[in-house]
Structures are given as C-alpha cells and as structure tokens.
Symmetry: C2
Subunit: 547 residues, 2 copies
C-alpha cells in the first residue's frame, strides 16, 4: 500500500502542475452537467469506477476545485459497489469548476461546473477560531461552545439514536463529542450493529476495507446534528476498545493513516465536523507522541477544509503549542473548578481553551463521574469568567448500563437547564468573547473592557458587593446597568439605578456614590454590568503594560 500511495503522490504532483497550467490559460473542459449548491453545504461529485482488487487501497481520487480565485484539492473516497465520491464544501458563492485526478482512467480528467448560492438563513458556515481565545462561524456569528459528550450514540439501536437526537434538539448543547470507533461500555447489552471495517466481530476485520454502510449511517447522523445547529467533535482514536477485543487500538501506523484519510475524505466536507485526534490519548499505550504528531500533520495537509483540530488528554497534556493544534481540548476538572486555575491555560497556549471533560454529573462509583448538578454548573461558570469554555456529560447508571456519556438516550441530571440559562447569558454578551478583566489579579471577572463585566462568586456567599472594575477601557462618569444573576436558580434581577464610574485607586474604578450591590448570601451568584451611557468607553488598543 505504501508504495502505491507514494506513487500516487508523484502522480498527483505532476497532475497539479498540468492543472495549474490549464487554469492559467483559462481552459477547463466541461463534461458534467451544471449543478447548484449552497455555500457551506456539501457538493458531491459521484463517479463510477473500478471494482477489481481493493479499491480502498488501489485507487486514489482527487478533485481540484476552483472559483478562479482560490483552488482547493479535495480527496475522494470509495463508497462500495463501484461508486466513488468527492465531497467539497464551497466557501464563497459564484461559479466553481472542478477536475478530477486519479491513478485509474475511468476516474481521471472528469470535470464540471457548478453554482454556489449564498447560504440560506440558519446556515452560518463552519466554526473557526476568532480573537485568539474564542470562536465564530464563518459568517461572523459568535459561537460559544456548550458541549456534551456521547461517545457511542451512533452505535446504538435506531430507536435510541432517535431518542438521543430528540434529547439534543431540546438541550442547550451546540457541540457533541462522539467517537467513530465504538467503545466497550455497555456492549454486552447492546453490541454495535455496524462496524467501520468489513469482516466479522470481534476481530476478523479486513482493516484495509471500510464498511460503507457504517459510514453512510454516521454521516446521516452528522448531517442531523448539523441541521440542529450542533457541532460534531469527532474522536478519531480512543482507548476504550473492549479489552483489545476489536483491535482498533493496535493497527499499524499505515493502517491508522489509511483510516484517517478515509474519514477525512468522507466526512470532512460537513461543515459541523471538528477533529479530535484522540480521547485520553495518553491512555492509548499502543501509540507514541510521534504517532499523534503524524496524525495531526496528516490532517493538516490532507483535510482540504481545514476543520478544527485538537486532542484530549488523560493525565498527560499534549503540547497544544504545536502549530497544527487549533484549540485546546482539555481534561482537568480540578483546573475547571476555579477561574484562577482555568485561565492559566489561555496564557500558555494563546488558543481557545475548552474543558471538554471537567468531570461528569452522575452517581458513578468512580470519582470522575460524581459531580452534583450544581457543581457541574459551577465549573462551567468558572470556565466562563476564566475566558474559557466548559463541557458537559452525565453518568447515571441504570439496570441496562445506559448512560448519556456512552449511549445517549435521555438526560437524567439537573445541569442541562442551567447550561441553557448560561447559554442565554453568553448570547447576550459581547460578540468578541469574554476575556479576564484583570489578568492575574482577580480571576473572578471577565468581560469586554469599558463595555461588559461578568463577576462570578462561585462558592463565596457574599451579601453585598461593591463594584470594582479594572481601569482598562474606563474613565470617570461612565454608566453601567447591573443585574444580579442566580446561576442555579436561573434568575436575572436588575439592580435599580446605574453604577457611575469613579476612580478608586491606581488600578480600579468603583461607583461614584459608593453603592454596594445587594446579594442574597447564597452560592453560585453572579453580577453583570453593562455599559448604558455617560462618558464614552476608552479605547483599549494598548492596555497598560505593568502586571
């Protein structure tokens, strides 16, 4: 296989030169009918090709797409029964052309033209990194992840999968972490009905031949998540094989790469796909850090759509400063307990930080799934004022071992409605994202200097709070409306009157009249201050340098 791949690379390189020449002189033979697709939707080129040998290995297919301004080379894949497909997500409206290249005659030099229409309402495009620490859809709409995890929900009986979709539709979650390979938990009661490879369980796979039916099912589910506005954080590898029964943890690097290429070609055009290279990567003791670097680089070069890329740790944290990591996907509940901890990861990585695993709500006998609802919500709020993002899941055992974390189904915990409330608060916050207001001094407050402040008291139970705002963006005489927020009780209580800024000391501003905001002396309270008038906010292009 390696030899073939290498040979194909040479072939591709030669073709690219030829194609570049063709495009330069404006010549593009049109043999396919014109077609139409919306911006950020999937345009698919379907071709009939050879069925002899092992098409998954023997045949390489690529589409080169251009609108005359940008040119994108997109890998194709074999879908069984002689069907080959190339999936492309166009980013800009207008006329696009493509030409195929393959190492086999029936698939090469096919070309066509198609029209990309502006996105329909509700289609905001793929999510990308914005303002260093945050995210936005391609159309500029802010994206604030409130994710959950259902590792194996797409490996369950049809009725349960439909139930999971229904639950998600009524939930606050706009991202789901889910694994391509099935996981062991609960398989005795509900063995997977489809497998990613051809062959028979538990171990008689042909690891060079994928199972198109498995992937057709998976991509249908990904499409349904997309239609619900939910990002799909796809886990490529994980250490949850059934005591090595299935063997997906012990493939060779060549087979790992073969798998990654297939997944990228097949699923990468879906705009809601993110790549999570592995879950608890360091618990997968059959691979080295160099293996993970290689998979990242493969994604970086092979994924035409440049989906978001991260990797999730067990006990050892991957070096997220490596250039192929787009955002930080963390497990460390201790760090998510308290904003002063959570925010430290921002400084070291200068990338968006998502605590995808901050322990789970549940009644499990293991301590990573014993959080109460209030504590899980507390963690989310701590992450929020740290300028980072939290991640949910739950583990409430029942007699069939059906738990949301592994299988989906229904939510049994108390946190989801409170996360919906947090989502509302975030939707009312500045588009550019919340950043810590006074880095390394008081980590309880985040916002946008001069415009918006969110102070979270966590486990403190104050009965009043005198507003103290870091000087950046402020001057005297600015007015702010205040709200008292009960993050667990889900209430927003406006404070009468306005706060008017006045210098308190070298670093902070407070209220001119010295008024304190009354608080109920309970845990989990927050205060929100929003600029409402008076003197104008000060430009914060160059914030004070001294620490």
């Amino acid at each position: 296989m390696q030899t073939l791949i290498a040979r194909f690379r040479v072939h591709l390189a030669r073709c690219s030169v030829l194609l570049a020449l063709l495009l330069t002189v404006g010549y593009m033979p049109l043999r396919a009918a014109s077609a139409q697709v919306d911006q950020w939707e999937v345009f698919e080129v379907a071709l009939k090709g050879p069925t002899d040998g092992n098409p998954y290995v023997d045949v390489r297919l690529t589409g080169v797409f251009t609108d005359g301004v940008r040119t994108v080379t997109v890998p194709g894949f074999y879908d069984g029964d002689g069907a080959y497909r190339i999936r492309f997500m166009p980013e800009t409206p207008g006329e696009w052309r493509y030409e195929t290249k393959s190492n086999r005659w029936p698939l090469t030099d096919k070309s066509g033209v198609f029209t990309v229409m502006p996105a329909k309402p509700g289609n905001h495009g793929p999510v990308r990194v914005k303002n260093t620490f945050h995210f936005a859809y391609a159309d500029g709409t802010p994206y604030r992840p409130i994710g959950t995890t259902c590792y194996s929900w797409t490996h369950r009986p049809e009725a349960m999968e439909e139930q999971t979709l229904k639950t998600l539709a009524g939930s606050p979650f706009n991202k789901v972490r889910m694994a391509i390979f099935p996981q062991a938990h609960g398989v005795k009661h509900m063995p997977p009905t489809r497998w990613p490879y051809q062959g028979t369980p538990p171990r008689s796979w042909d690891l060079t031949r994928f199972n198109p039916e498995f992937f057709r099912h998976l991509e249908r589910r990904i499409g349904q998540l997309r239609d619900l506005g939910i990002e799909c954080d796809l886990i490529l590898f994980h250490p949850y094989d059934d005591d090595e029964e299935w063997g997906f943890e012990t493939m060779t690097p060549e087979l790992d790469d073969h798998y990654v290429r297939y997944v990228v070609a097949r699923l990468g055009a879906y705009r809601n796909v993110w790549w999570s290279v592995a879950n608890e990567y360091d618990f997968l003791r059959t691979k080295t850090e160099e293996d993970w670097d290689r998979v990242f680089r493969l994604l970086q070069t092979y994924d035409a759509h440049q989906r978001l890329r991260s990797i999730h740790n067990g006990k050892q944290i991957y070096d997220h400063n490596k250039p192929w990591v787009t955002h930080v996907s963390l497990q460390n509940a201790m760090a998510a307990e308290e904003p002063g901890r959570a925010t430290l990861y921002r400084d070291v990585y200068r990338k968006p930080v998502i605590f995808d695993e901050l322990k789970y709500e549940g009644n499990h006998h293991l301590r990573w799934a014993q959080l109460t609802g209030p504590e899980l919500v507390q963690h989310f709020w701590a992450c929020t004022v740290a300028g980072t993002y939290g991640g949910h899941s739950e583990f409430f055992s029942d007699d069939k071992e059906v738990v949301w974390l592994a299988h989906g189904g229904v939510l049994k915990g108390e946190s989801a409605p409170r996360l919906a409330f947090l989502r509302r608060i975030l939707e009312e916050s500045p588009a550019g994202g919340l950043d810590p207001s006074d880095q390394w001094q008081d980590p309880r407050m985040a916002g946008k200097p001069g415009h918006y402040y969110l102070m979270y008291f966590g486990h403190e139970q104050p009965t009043s709070w005198v507003p103290m705002l870091y000087r950046n963006g402020l001057t005297e005489g600015m007015e702010f409306k205040a709200d008292v927020i009960d993050t667990w009780g889900m209430t927003i209580t406006p404070v009468p009157g306005v706060i008017v800024t006045k210098k308190a000391d070298r670093y902070q501003f407070t209220d001119r009249a010295g008024q304190a905001i009354a608080l109920p002396g309970r845990k989990y309270m927050a205060v929100r201050l929003r600029y409402s008038g008076g003197a104008a906010p000060v430009s914060t292009a160059k914030p004070p340098m001294e620490p």
Copy 2:
C-alpha cells in the same frame, strides 16, 4: 563584523576536522606547563595576543578540551591589554588536554595538559534538571531553589555590595536573580560606577568594545556567590533602561549576539551561573519573539557548559515547551497563591517550574510589591506543595530609594526567616523532590508516594484533619509519623503515636484507628507524614492510569 564571524566559522570547521584527526592518532603537542584544577572549578588558559584593531570583534579564539572520552569546544574572550583567556569547567577528574584555535597566529595551536582533581567538600558542581520537575547538583545532591532577586546589586558602591553579600550569607537564599545591565531604579542617588561597554554615560558607548574592568568586577561577585553556595541567575536583557538613556535595549541583533557571546565566553565556566535570557521579556518592545528564540539558540550552541536556560515574562508567557528552555521561570503571582493553580504549569511544560516573581514583600505603591510577609511565605508553601518553587524579593522604600529588589543592602521584611524554615523542611524531604500526591484532585498535598506527604492548609483554619492519602504507593498496615508544622510560627510539633494505613475508599487510605490530627485553627499550617515502619511501601513504577 558579520563577515568576519562567518569567515571564522569556516576556519573553525576546518580546524575541527584537523583536530579530530590529531586526537584520533593520539598526537597532541604539549607546549604549556602542566597545571591542576578541581573538578567543576574554572581552568583558565591565558594567552598574549594582538592589540591592533578591535580585538573584541577582529579576534576569535577557541579552546578544544578533551580527556580522551569527551571533547568540549570552549569560546575564549579578550580581556584587554593584549590578554586573551579561555575558561573551562572540567566535569570529570583525570588528565585533560587542550589546543587553541584562532584566526590570529599568536593565539592558535597553543596546547597544554592539566590534571583535574576530584572536587573538594562543599563543591557539588553545577545545578542541573533532575526527575523532570526538580534540580540536583552534578554530584547528585538535591538542589531546592529558594531564590531572591537583586537586579542591580553589582552596580552599587563597594560598601553596599559587601553589605549585600553579608546579608545573603546569613539568608536562606541559594539563588539570586541579577542583571548584567544596570537598571534605572535609584540611579539618581547611586549611578553605576562601571559600565559594560567602553565609552561614557549616558550614551557614548562603543558597543563593540566591552569594558574588562566591569566584567572583572562582575565575575568576582559571581565567584563570591559561588563560595556562599548561591546560584547566580544572570539576566542578559531587561526593559529597565533609564528611559532609553543608555541604549542597551535598542542594540542591533548583531550587537546583541556579540554581547551574548562575550558574556558566555567570560562567565559561562562559573558553575553557579544560570542564563535568564530576559526579565519581563515581553515588556522589551524593541525585540520580537524571534529575537528571543535566536538568543536561546545561540546559548544552546555556543555555551560549552550548557548552563540552565530560561526567560522570565511580563504579561505574555514565552513558550517554555521550546526545546532550548531547561526550566520555567515565571511571573504570575495569582498562580502562586494557590497550589491548584501553580501545579498546572508543570503539566503543560514537563519541566521544573520556578515562580521567580510571585509579587514581592513590601510597601510599594504598585501592587506587585505590596505582599505582607505572611502572604509571601504562603505563596512559597503553595508553590512547594504544587511541586514547584517560589522566588523572593522585597521592596521597602527608604529616603535613598534603596530597596533590596534593585540594590541589595539589608532585608527589612519578615519573610526571610520563614523561608529559612521552609528550606529546612525541604532539606528533610525526599531527595527526588516533592510531587503532587493526587494530581488534579486535591492539590494541597505533595510528597513521595508511600514515603512522605506534606499537606498544606494555606488560608484554611481547620482544628483537626483526618489523614487521607492517595493510594499510589500504599497498602494496609504502613506506619507514618506525623508532625504539625506552623509555617509562620516556625514550629514542628510531633504528633504522638503513629498513623497506620487502612483503605478508606477506592482512592484513599486513612488511619486504621480513625484518629484525627489536632490543628490549632490558624492559617498557614501544614502536616508532614513520614513513613516509619510496618508494611513496606508499594512500588510506584506504574501508578494508576485513571484520572
């Protein structure tokens, strides 16, 4: 200058080949008298050479040292008045030989032999990284940094410098951060009497010609620190120029490198030297991150002795995962306040972490120097149980603007005796260093599994504590002696009897008799548990994987 340097590089490469051949056939002409030096002391080759032109730029000199097993290429330097020197610190006893190479005839092909004697008592060699997160001297003796900062103490009048040395001699500090370039603070009262370059202040320097007298003075002080057992954390660049009066912040990259090469050649053989590439590097707005990378790489390739290397931040943290960083030198007091924060940097860098600046004890009007003594000591203890290290300084203004942070002199704060007490506790702790006992669960405890536990309560004021120890290294029936430690009061009170381990739950062991250790209900208390008998500690070669 660049051309000359490049030319010399070619020359050197050619010479190396020649020398390698000479060494292979065992031929080494001996022209210098035999000499003797202790292991880890400085062996100096002194030569007379040209005085024409600009010897700092025009002449390059290198010594190649070998004991037949290892070969070390050491840069030489010009010391004025036709004197050239090569300084080398041998690492192993036995017979060593050297041969010089230079682009000038009088300095090249000089050779000699000398005998390295085993180190005398008290000479432990240079400090190196040990066990990923800790340090040890070359002879294996543990080194636990308790550092302080006196940026400009070597730029002061003789009497004050002697006073500083006397203060250090009676202090707990075994590391001093100090800058080569003077800093502006207090210069109106006490202008520096020596300058690193030839010329006249404030700005008429010849930045290609160093001032040997300045460096002779500096290296005398470095030697005195060495003799006191104090590491010298030398700051190469800093942003504290006197409003650009001196111009050391705005040199070209070529002049920066010229300076770094001179400093490395001149001072790098002192075993107590560490390189701090810059202080608050990001506040030096005249350089880019690429400049800092370049200086690091220069040290990495040019420093024959491979001294410890780090860089200290203002608000933006350098990527300490870069391979040339040996340990993490941080400013972030907020992170040092609480062990759950401090420990996070260990995970992301997998290197020793020193909070060289965790705010200072003092009465300054700026908030980075307003810590009370108890709070500074609290930060140190938080760092300790986080498996990291703290850093001290103080800023108590007097009418002459003499403050320890800038000038040295005498200590006026309350923290130093308590840091001496901490140093004693550390000296009684396991040689391999303290690591968090239950990473990401309870950050208040560090130790060595099965052998030693240090629990620090910080601002909590419990009246009793039931020992709970993470399972790693433990089994039932192990016995521990307990001490109650008042970190501020500097008392160690043994608890009568022994703790005998018994499983408490899946994760923890507690005392078989369920006894609680009585505590006085004050802040800043700690408990120490040391293995004393009973069942043997369990091997911790493969700790539990689950988080």
